[in-house]
């Protein structure tokens, strides 16, 4: 009611809205609302409230709940209101119920009956509001209760009802596909409904269905194409036009569906080429919705079987998108670029400058989209620039969610494309430094594996170079005074540092054991409260001293280090204690013994683990014969088992059951930092205390595991490893066979190849830099462009000719022939597109140029005039914006508004500028209507609502 600008509410409600509008703080607002709730609570229980009054209470409750307060006491009244005969009240009831309740609410059962009745109503408006409620309130269990009625409505005479019935069925399908699986054919049937609106509605469920099962809908390709053709040829009634586009939303959905159906299907795609091509040609690129359809066309082209002709056409559209000043279009341009890049990698190169503009744009959304694009087009040649940019951006944002994402992208890319190990290690350091607390621990493991394995094969010198480089860089990191703050959260980093220093710290002889161990101790001290870090450090120390002993040097342990171990040996943590004892034992052993338990450089050897522990079989048999209980798996045990003979410090503190879990949990964490092979030897052979407890538990818990004989080497050493594994130190070293999958070995190979390539290309780089300096347009940008796009050709060339390695980016190889010529020209040829046309035809061009400039200045003049306050008094002047002077309309109308309610005019002007593009094609159907606004103003003032300083623009016309 009251479509003429009246407000069908009482003074009370208006007062409420007004007072809330004028509050200065949240607490004040809360107070007002709580008072309101109290009032309604009281009133709503009064007997014989007129229903009209009740309706308002319910609207007020909805309002209250929107502001975040609980209005659940009124839910039941909303449900009752939905029962009402009066349409107005019924609709209000339904509205409130759909906003208040969720599908699992207890009150739903009360509303189902009403819905059932209303679905059968003669009044189609009642049916519509019931369908609306169905969408929201019916859950899986109650679907059957209303399903027959909804299906019946598919044949309703009113198209609005048919449409809503289709969408309701779709909603059912989304909620629980099985309940409507027998009705899916209805969606197909409705595709041929007389009413285009109903047909359009059926596209939504069909899209969902096709996403899941493409094959069974292939037969519809021809129908979809013919529908799209008809729509595009404006065969639909005029009422489906939107901004001069025929039914754009239907077109968009159809294109999406075609994209799905044509994916990888040459035959189906072939049928689509014509209609999609036509659409691209005819689409009106000046309106927002036209661009939406264009975008969908490109999306479709990118997903169907590629056609060179269409791809060319799309390239033009993309160029238009990217060159546009409108950020939305740029965004869309970048998005489609990302989709096309797989099909034709050179598409991006045509737009390199535009892409870089987007990368440097202030708009975060656009920036992120561009990073997404860069991620897709990363190659070994441009990885350095891209990662550099990404990390810079990563450090500049606070958005935790996105930080994780971009960090993992950085890691992924640098593992895949690293040009050299120096770069890789430095990059990882940077990533850890800025995002050490959020990167996956696996990243650290991969890094360690890479350092340990090196490049494999016959590159021993390169490997040791890599290692000593790693050691050096980590020592640098550790030595920096800011370590504790920057790396405080970077567990992964600390783990890597400790492991590398322990393993390779003294390997190249550049640093003495005491220097390294001093650093390690510093690390342990810096994290005095963290057991995990201490464990990393102490194991690393153990290794260093072990290697010292092995190499026959005299061991010289400073007293403070000794005291560290003493301290840890008395630690409350069993894990630290054990490590300290291990250390103590190791340092007192003979060199050859140490060598056999701590062999150097075996950290990458695969360790065969037979989890069935076959070597225990005989022991188990024997025990069973002696009357021992057979093993019962943990989950079958009742909880109390006799493990009282296990006694160590921890067990005294906690219950027996808890102890069990503790042992598992704790042991897992520190494992990665140490090579498990030697450790296992220590723990089982040499250290008396823990060994005892472990072996007892072994006997208790695992005696009767079925045995399978292994192929593993039958030495004693390896078997003991197995035990160690079993007891919970398996994470890193046992994982290599399974988890190594993706990165390290290919990465290392590639990076080696690349390092050679990058070395050889240095001189060229310099040459190119010189060249670039001559170019006048934004040299840094050009440089960036070249490093992102241009370099690709060069480095592909080098890798292509020298190493015929099997690379992931084979696509670029065929291209290398084309761009082989040289790099510098590639840079140059890409700049001139704007000046170029001038050279072609001087006469024509100048005329055109004059024409455009004159138009421009005219328009500017017009804008100025209006803006200077000479806004004419003819408020009903009709400006047809489709003529082309979009700018004038909003400016013009805005002045009126500002004249009457004094908003900060600069701000509103900005708004208008922002709007100009998207509003461009809206007809200026109504002039700025001063009279209307004044009437409204007077009306509310009469009611006592005055716009205050709080919200001076309350009357501001939204559409300007």
């Amino acid at each position: 009611m009251g479509s003429q600008g009246g407000f069908g509410q009482s003074k009370e409600f208006l007062d409420l809205v007004k007072s809330i509008g004028e509050t200065r703080s949240k607490s004040e607002e809360d107070r007002i609302i709580l008072r309101e709730i109290e009032t309604i609570k009281r009133r709503i229980l009064e007997p014989d409230i007129p229903r009209r009054k009740m309706k308002e209470y319910i609207i007020r409750l909805v309002y209250v709940e929107m502001l975040g307060h609980d209005a659940s006491f009124g839910y039941i009244h909303a449900v009752k209101m939905a029962h009402d005969e009066n349409l107005l009240h019924k609709r209000t009831g339904y509205l409130a119920v759909t906003l208040f309740l969720n599908e699992d609410h207890d009150l739903i059962i009360l509303i189902v009956n009403t819905i059932q009745k209303d679905l059968k109503s003669d009044n189609y408006l009642v049916v519509c509001s019931a369908l609306n409620a169905v969408c929201r309130l019916i859950n899986e269990e109650t679907i059957p209760a209303v399903l027959p009625q909804v299906v019946e409505l598919l044949g309703h005479q009113k198209e609005a009802v048919r449409k809503k019935a289709i969408m309701t069925l779709h909603r059912f399908y989304q909620k629980s596909p099985s309940t409507v699986s027998h009705l899916i054919s209805n969606f197909r049937k409705k595709l041929s409904d007389n009413d285009p609106g109903v047909m359009g509605a059926s596209l939504y469920p069909l899209f969902d269905l096709i996403t899941i099962d493409i094959k069974s809908y292939k037969d519809l390709v021809a129908s979809f194409i013919s529908i799209l053709k008809q729509v595009a040829e404006c065969r639909l009634p005029k009422s489906y036009d939107y901004h001069q586009m025929p039914a754009p939303f239907i077109q968009i959905k159809l294109l999406k569906i075609l994209g799905l159906l044509g994916n990888g299907d040459k035959h189906a795609s072939g049928q689509m080429y014509n209609v999609v091509g036509d659409l691209i040609r005819k689409c009106d690129a000046s309106s927002n919705i036209g661009n939406a359809v264009l975008y969908e066309c490109i999306y479709c082209v990118a997903s169907i079987y590629p056609s060179t002709k269409l791809l060319e056409a799309t390239a033009e559209v993309i160029a238009k998108f990217l060159k546009n000043d409108n950020h939305n279009l740029k965004y869309m341009g970048i998005d489609v670029l990302g989709r096309l890049i797989k099909l034709s990698p050179d598409v991006a190169e045509q737009h390199q400058l535009a892409v870089i503009d987007c990368l440097e744009d202030l708009d975060d959304t656009l920036k992120r989209k561009t990073f997404e694009l860069l991620h897709k087009m990363t190659k070994s040649s441009n990885v350095e620039v891209i990662i550099d940019r990404m990390i810079d951006y990563m450090t500049s944002i606070n958005d935790f969610h996105y930080k994780i994402e971009i960090a993992s992208r950085c890691v992924e890319l640098s593992e895949q494309f690293a040009p050299s190990y120096h770069w890789f290690i430095l990059t990882m350091n940077r990533i850890f430094e800025h995002a050490g607390d959020i990167v996956d621990i696996k990243v650290a493991h991969n890094l360690m594996r890479l350092i340990a394995k090196g490049f494999g094969g016959d590159h021993e010198s390169a490997d040791s170079q890599l290692r000593s480089y790693a050691v050096e860089s980590y020592l640098h990191v550790v030595t920096e005074p800011k370590l504790p703050s920057a790396f405080l959260q970077a567990w992964a980093m600390i783990e890597v540092i400790c492991w590398v220093l322990g393993q390779f710290g003294t390997a190249d002889g550049n640093y003495s054991a005491s220097y390294i161990s001093g650093k390690l101790r510093d690390v342990a001290e810096a994290y005095s409260s963290d057991e995990t870090v201490k464990a990393y450090a102490i194991t690393a120390l153990t290794k260093i001293y072990a290697f010292e002993i092995t190499s026959g040097r005299k061991l010289d342990i400073l007293p403070e280090r000794q005291s560290l171990f003493e301290e840890l040996a008395a630690s409350r943590s069993a894990d630290l204690q054990q490590r300290a004892y291990e250390f103590r034992t190791v340092v007192h052993l003979e060199a050859h013994a140490v060598k056999s338990i701590m062999p150097f450089d075996v950290s990458c050897e695969d360790i065969e683990v037979d989890i069935t522990l076959p070597f225990l079989n005989s022991y188990v048999q024997q025990s069973l014969q002696n009357g021992a209980q057979p093993y019962i798996p943990e989950e079958q045990r009742s909880g109390t088992i006799d493990i009282s003979n296990i006694s160590n410090q921890v067990s005294r503190e906690s219950s027996m059951h808890a102890l069990k879990f503790e042992a598992y949990e704790l042991a897992k964490l520190p494992a990665p930092s140490r090579p498990p092979l030697p450790v296992s030897n220590i723990s089982t052979e040499l250290v008396p205390v823990p060994e005892q407890s472990y072996s007892i538990r072994e006997a208790n818990t695992y005696p009767s595991i079925p045995s399978v004989s292994t192929s593993g080497p039958p030495e004693l050493k390896l078997r003991l490893e197995g035990i160690q594994k079993k007891w919970g130190r398996p994470s890193y070293s046992s994982s290599p066979p399974s988890s190594s999958g993706v990165s390290p070995s290919p990465a290392s190979e590639i990076s080696q190849v690349e390092s050679a390539a990058s070395l050889s290309s240095r001189p060229q780089d310099n040459y190119k830099d010189l060249k670039k300096a001559e170019v006048e347009i934004a040299p840094e940008k050009q440089k960036l462009a070249a490093s992102l796009f241009g370099d690709s050709s060069k480095s592909n060339k080098t890798t292509g000719t020298r190493h015929n390695t099997s690379r992931s980016d084979t696509l670029s190889i065929d291209k290398s022939t084309g761009s082989r010529s040289s790099v510098a020209p590639a840079v140059e040829t890409k700049i001139p597109p704007q000046p170029l046309p001038d050279l072609f035809d001087i006469s024509d061009q100048t005329v055109a140029a004059v024409a455009t400039t004159s138009v421009d200045s005219f328009m500017q003049l017009g804008g100025l005039l209006d803006h200077n306050g000479r806004c004419s008094s003819q408020s009903d002047a009709v400006i047809d914006s489709s003529v082309g002077s979009h700018d004038n309309v909003p400016l013009y109308s805005d002045l009126h508004v500002s004249g009457q309610s004094d908003p900060p005019s600069a701000k509103s002007k900005d708004n208008d500028i922002k709007r100009t593009f998207s509003r461009g094609s809206i007809e200026a159907m109504k002039g700025p209507n001063l009279k209307d606004a004044l009437v409204k103003d007077a009306l509310v003032r009469q009611m006592g609502v005055n716009p205050t300083t709080q919200n001076p623009n309350l009357f501001k016309d939204l559409l300007g």
């Binding site: 899209f207 959304t365 609502v945």
Partner: protein, 165 residues
């Protein structure tokens, strides 16, 4: 599918919030707050799209448009087209404009239920139902007529006379 429609003013006060997947009241408030925080950080003259996965979870996008004192925000998933959603906001606002003649924030504040009806005619259960503001207006007027008629029958003369013209 469209997940949510939020209208709020430039001070962060919600004027309309409709979630097509049920969200409890507290969660709604939290979402509205974080959307507002994100929106108010956006510069002028940037795109109308925004990263929304950190607020609404995976596969969610957000398009917003700023009109005078109001933000109109649509949240949806990858099955919709961003530019098209931007135009849907335009359809919504144009329809409101036709409905209230030069719509302003005040109209929206005081005609909460009417705004809901308009929205229900445009978006139905998270899907786009109608994109022609003329058609939406027809539906709305039909409802108004019927409502008025049914009101007249059960009439109580305490006419909201001052608001009628």
């Amino acid at each position: 599918m469209i997940r949510a429609v939020i209208v709020m003013n430039t001070q962060g006060k919600p004027r309309l919030a409709k979630f097509y997947d049920y969200q409890p009241v507290e969660k709604q408030q939290e979402l509205i707050r974080s959307v507002f925080a994100a929106l108010s950080n956006r510069a002028e003259n940037v795109s109308n799209f925004m990263e929304a996965e950190s607020i609404f979870g995976p596969d969610s996008r957000l398009v917003y448009k700023h009109y005078a004192t109001l933000y109109f925000v649509f949240v949806f998933d990858s099955s919709e087209n961003e530019l098209a959603m931007l135009d849907l906001i335009q359809v919504f606002v144009e329809t409101l404009d036709k409905c209230f003649r030069n719509v302003c924030e005040l109209d929206i504040v005081f005609n909460y239920s009417k705004m809901q009806s308009v929205l229900d005619e445009i978006i139905f259960g998270g899907q786009v139902l109608e994109t022609s503001s003329v058609e939406v207006m027809k539906a709305i007027e039909e409802i108004s007529k019927l409502e008025a008629a049914s009101n007249a029958i059960s009439l109580i003369p305490y006419a909201s006379g001052w608001s009628r013209r």
